[in-house]
Symmetry: C2
Subunit: 140 residues, 2 copies
Amino acid sequence: MKQYHLNDENQSQENHSQETLTYSISELSKEFEITPRSIRYYEAEGLISPQRQGSQRVYHRGDLIRLQLILRGKRVGFSLSEIREIINLYDSPKGEQKQTTLLLGKIEERRNALYQQQKDIKTMLSELDRLEIRINQPEK
Amino acid sequence: MKQYHLNDENQSQENHSQETLTYSISELSKEFEITPRSIRYYEAEGLISPQRQGSQRVYHRGDLIRLQLILRGKRVGFSLSEIREIINLYDSPKGEQKQTTLLLGKIEERRNALYQQQKDIKTMLSELDRLEIRINQPEK
DNA sequence: TTTTTAGTTTACGTTCACGTAAAGGTAAGC
DNA sequence: GCTTACCTTTACGTGAACGTAAACTAAAAA
């Protein structure tokens, strides 16, 4: 069991001690506790596009941030294509947003879904509370 | 296009005007905006068990409440088997809870997942905020 | 130099949560 | 009696998100 610090010194030549820290796919998979397969799948689905050194994938900080966004999106129940939409919103160039209104609509959708989820979670939590109380109650 | 009031007078004999209101599968599917297929699937998965009149399914109020719980569970990202677990918690008889500690552990798990989701939703919402702001910003 | 170790692509397999026929039963209305 | 509407079961199909195995490459370690 090693300790996986992301800032390993694993590059040798041309290292100007800049913050050019990169990551292999296995490092990422350990850091995020997902399989390399998943990471490659996200790439195939167009959610990330790491650099290559030869045939090998090389991940930078931006990719980590995206992965984080992807996993967070998954946890709140978004599908990969929905997450891709969000990412595309981020990536579309600043001024010339395609159809601004359309994008804003998408965002509104997402936001409303999240609001609904907040409610759902609250009621779910209080239901679990009541459940726990009931269990701890000695038989009346 | 009829109007689907759930309290239709569709029972004739022996109706003592009690609150014995029942529902057909199509009534439920319209009310909850899901397909009959889904409802039957939930039954096959052991999440609900409606009465029968002959071969037909007859749903009562308790079934509606369960369906509500199921759909809420789905919206917050639980799988059907996870929802079944929660339901089973509810259904296990009051005093002689099998292994109380084990059940409480399950509840804790669920609760923590929900807490994490609350965080996720919040950051996601603020990210959408920033995104919206960026879009509305005229090119600097 | 040979052997690990870590990476790659290709492709078929799998689980979940249903969708979608197909084939039939039953009660109401014409 | 026949049609229509609504229900049933059985069963095969489907999309998403990977799992898993096979076959190969390249670099690092022994």
